[in-house]
Subunit: 416 residues, 2 copies
Amino acid sequence: MSKKITFDYWKHLYAHRTGNMYSSEIRDLLALSARPDIISFAGGNPDVKSLDYHKLEKYVKRALLVDGDISLQYGSSEGYYPFKTKLVEVMKLEGIEADEEDIIVTTGGQQALDLIAKIFININDYIIVESPSYAGALNSFKSYEPNIIDIPIDKNGIRLKELEKKLEELKNKDIQVKFIYLVPNFSNPSGVTLSLPRRKKILEMAKKYNTLIIEDNPYGMLRYEGQPVPTIKELDSKNGSKHVLYMSTLSKLLAPGFRIGWIVAPHLIIEKLTLGVQAADLCTSSFSQRIAFEYFSDPAWKDNIKNFIKIYSSRRDTMLKSLEEYFPEGSSWSKPKGGFFIWLKLPEFLNSKEILADAIRNKVAYVPGSGFYASNNGYNEARLAFCSESPKDIEKGIKILANIIKDKIKLYKSFK
Amino acid sequence: MSKKITFDYWKHLYAHRTGNMYSSEIRDLLALSARPDIISFAGGNPDVKSLDYHKLEKYVKRALLVDGDISLQYGSSEGYYPFKTKLVEVMKLEGIEADEEDIIVTTGGQQALDLIAKIFININDYIIVESPSYAGALNSFKSYEPNIIDIPIDKNGIRLKELEKKLEELKNKDIQVKFIYLVPNFSNPSGVTLSLPRRKKILEMAKKYNTLIIEDNPYGMLRYEGQPVPTIKELDSKNGSKHVLYMSTLSKLLAPGFRIGWIVAPHLIIEKLTLGVQAADLCTSSFSQRIAFEYFSDPAWKDNIKNFIKIYSSRRDTMLKSLEEYFPEGSSWSKPKGGFFIWLKLPEFLNSKEILADAIRNKVAYVPGSGFYASNNGYNEARLAFCSESPKDIEKGIKILANIIKDKIKLYKSFK
């Protein structure tokens, strides 16, 4: 049944912000990446197939049969306390000292971003992001209509000179920066890790300019080489824990289908975030939280992470090797030590959005770069997710992409 | 460990709206109602204990083992299509014709309210609610900082004369009302049902003043006497479906722990709401939606509703009878034909918030009326939920409440 209506009858009723809600390119492409004939480097979909379904069945049954009255009922807006106790233990492995009172459970990491934006951002406020930055975060932030300042990154993360210059410039105009949003470990989308000296200096800047750092760490436990770098949150703790809001998600440690994320913050901020949750969706699913509690109560969860690391690191290796082998000169890419993503830069005369159409015709998908910039940069860049496909398909897909790009370069040069 | 900090170090960073986020009295009281020694008339917690756990176990296992790759993964922001197909069938039972394209699945009914507020409300916009109105809705709306106009109800629902007068008054000031929010069936908190003639006239007003009706219908299927009244959505369909956004939730048809709600709207509005979901939490839990799909795929779900009706109607009967038997003169209450709530009015010299302290000391909880008013009315009113306690405890609790109120009246009169 055709339902196309071209006249928007309700236009006079929409809020201004509705015009600021753009469909995330990532999400629009998920439709494509779901098609089984497509080799998808698009969505950051974890390899849920590799989970131990037999164990999961046990957790799910316990959630229902041991404490069904709680799992099926409304829960508290702060989150299910026993699950928060598990989160305290899990975060300790990454050097983070927190207690249950400092944690709020959210409906995925995305809601964590939305709540943070909601409690801090007024229209025209200033926030700072690394550039490129996570598209989903930009999407949440934009719906509160701030000015988003993007600061470029290099292979050690956000560039400090540019950051400090901007902070100073805004301070001189009496503008309070509300927060600096960072994914310091294996960043989405760039794959880059923020170096320890930079972490320390950014924390000093947050102090000096009296602002907050939002440290988003979904991938920290998925490291494939080298030693972990302390989180900015850990550095901040030595310091009274005033300048970092830390957040993470279960989507990469277990599965996205349960929609579980969390924020660690000073308790006074947790209280504000709790009011945000009450208005947003009352509470995060009690059933999901109970399953997550069971998952972390079984020491086997660490084997599961080890297994993820084995799977993803081999996929990363294959993608890096294939890029090296097939891609033409003039392209460059990041070399992530963990996480899900490689950031690709094509020659400046190429446009990654235009190439995507060709790629999809040839059954390969990725996300063009521009969605990861608050400004309109990144037209010749792209995010390649290596998390979802087998090494064999990764090699095949990269070869296909390389051939398309070689053809484009040839075409361009023939017109020059 | 004491963590009390009296100085709010981050005050300079909060958004204005953060000051507009009030802790909902309902939610604060949930902590109390969870204590097993309290007879709780506070939260609208459905009787999840009466569910068939054996059947639920089957659904949950199927969600995991038949289609785990989908249930554990990110889903589409519009919702899981097979579940929407079930929703189409379910809503048909209440006379609503919709197709999958007109539905978006949300993280509970609360997120539906938040998304609607987000896409329609600018700061200082005008919206209209019935008075008293659902506290959770007021809470969502307030965080977008509108002017909330409340229109009183009587035993047939929102009063039309006052509504039309207000609409006309605003129109004369060139003010566009963004929407009118109603719970037409067994309203939360009043228990009142909007009559058919009023439904028709309100729809005409929405047309005349070119605005929307938000029809929130969580309790429609939980009717304990009399014949169903057509939804405003059904009346609007005959009419091109332009003026009603319909919403409901699984929380009362299955269980709140899964956090599933939905909105039915013209497809162009669904597109805006979808952008809202992407920024809010990416998608509603795939796992929960798959369980809900299994639930509605088993014809036994209708028996479950019949069982709920049997349980709740006996609780309602007991509460009404006990109020009649024990409550002193000068109090009055609504006689709901379905749903979860009775609305209580005490003599004007009594304050339901003050009495709550005494009530809790005597192990009975309810929600004071003022949280259900956008203005500061309702000080001598209260919401009594009859859904959660056994008939025996309902009688006991009402008797305790009645005695407290009799004492208060005696005390008041002795000082007069």
